[in-house]
């Protein structure tokens, strides 16, 4: 019900949006995790809502500051929640397709076979594409709610800045080693961060 109301831009409750976002993104997470299989299905189903909603929780204060001049926190939170929920619902809709690909493409331990390396890349491309499409749908909705390109851009920047690090912290998502024994290798993930890693990769390219 909430999903239909959300899609048709009708009145929704924050609790309903929260439930829709959690369930939809959990479905997408489960589909992503089914490439590795076993426990990773459950791990990713937990991580995906944590990623979307956790990023919102951390970045909301910064997002609200830029909109506080004209809007109350209740309004900005509803707009942010609606955006995240729509993004999650689009991901949920793509989950069956991702699931089919995850369970059926080539896989070999450590991706030693060439076909499995190719299929791993195809799968990553599909996941990136899904997230991009969902993101575009979400940003489109956010802009129609905020009615300001600058504010929308600021919000997206803040959310993405935190989101990239959140995804880094929660890795592994798609384990090509086939190991599903680590829900959150925190000690390993806390060494360095997303942006340091990008920096090192870029430096490595030119040295």
């Amino acid at each position: 019900m909430t999903v239909h109301a959300l899609l048709l831009r009708r009145e929704t409750s924050v609790a309903g949006l929260l439930a829709a976002a959690t369930l939809s993104s959990a479905c997408f997470g489960a589909a992503v995790g089914s490439y590795t299989g076993r426990w990773q299905v459950l791990y990713d189903a937990l991580k995906m809502p944590l990623y979307l909603l956790g990023t919102l929780a951390i970045s909301f204060a910064a997002m609200h500051v830029f909109a506080a001049r004209e809007r109350q926190a209740r309004e900005t939170f509803a707009a942010a929640m609606e955006t995240v929920a729509l993004t999650a619902v689009v991901l949920g809709a793509l989950a069956p397709l991702v699931w089919l690909m995850s369970v059926s493409v080539h896989w070999s331990p450590g991706l030693r076979a060439p076909e499995s390396q190719r299929d791993y890349k195809i799968l990553i491309l599909l996941l990136t594409g899904s997230v991009a499409v969902a993101g575009v749908a979400g940003v489109g909705r956010l802009h129609s709610r905020l009615r300001s390109v600058r504010l929308t851009a600021a919000w997206v920047l803040i959310y993405q800045f935190v989101g990239a690090q959140m995804a880094w912290l929660l890795k592994p998502w798609v384990s090509h080693t086939g190991l599903d024994d680590r829900f959150l290798p925190l000690r390993q993930n806390l060494q360095g961060n997303f942006y340091e890693s990008v920096y090192r990769t870029v430096v490595g390219l030119f040295s």
Partner: protein
């Protein structure tokens, strides 16, 4: 005569769908001879549950019939396996692709409910199933009278190609008619429909490849081999 006038004149008693097993199969008459009446019922959500049930039943039976003929090339257990596999591919593809169809249409301005979307997708699957069952006698004739698999593969691919084209045509006609009678919103977005057809094609091919074999004898008499791979591997 104008296409829409013809569709306007279509009559179909959808209350009869609930009347016994024969009533369930009357949905075939709606799809073949009165698509206009079906589309109007779809728009006002009349008897959607009966429609969905009948469409699922007929899709399963018709695709199972064609699947059995696919499997008849290797008589015995494979006939049974292929008869069970083809409905999984056709109906499974339809169900896997329905959420995408629903969510993206809604974002693009449709007010269709999930039930309406599902019924529209089932209309596509039953159109495909109808062409398959219509070609079943021909496919059977060639299966029992041909030795090598080469010609048969071509024949089956041709039949699936015709079935897919007919399905696309049916749903696209339904979309145009919906656009014609609906003034408030766009129930099915035209450009997205064709993108979605590509997704359906991709999913169907991948699913069929995952559930292989259909023509060959199954290894160790197993229903599902569990061998992973991408469908384009079969071209090599």
């Amino acid at each position: 005569m104008d296409q829409f006038e013809k569709l306007d004149r279509d009559q179909f008693d959808s209350d009869g769908l609930a009347r016994g097993l024969a009533g369930r199969f009357s949905v075939v008459a709606a799809v073949l001879r009165a698509p206009g009446a079906f589309v109007r019922d779809l728009r006002v959500e009349k008897n959607l549950g009966h429609y969905a049930g009948s469409l699922i039943l007929t899709t399963i039976l018709f695709t199972a019939a064609y699947g059995a003929i696919l499997g008849m090339f290797q008589p015995g257990l494979q006939t049974l396996f292929a008869a069970a596999k083809l409905p999984i591919v056709v109906l499974g593809t339809a169900l896997l692709c329905t959420p995408t169809f629903y969510v993206f249409n809604a974002i693009l301005g449709s007010k269709f409910s999930f039930r309406q979307t599902l019924t529209a997708v089932l209309f596509l699957s039953v159109s495909i199933a109808l062409v398959l069952v219509a070609f079943a006698p021909i496919a059977w004739f060639f299966t029992v009278s041909t030795n090598g698999p080469g010609f048969l593969v071509g024949l089956h691919l041709f039949v699936f190609f015709v079935a897919a084209l007919y399905g696309i045509h049916s749903l696209n006609t339904a979309r145009k008619y919906l656009d014609h009678i609906e003034t408030e919103h766009t129930p099915i977005h035209a450009a997205f429909l064709f993108l979605w057809f590509l997704i359906v094609l991709f999913v169907a091919l991948q699913m069929a490849y995952y559930l292989r074999p259909f023509l060959d004898a199954p290894k160790d008499l197993r229903f599902f081999l569990g061998e992973r791979g991408l469908f384009i591997d079969s071209l090599r």
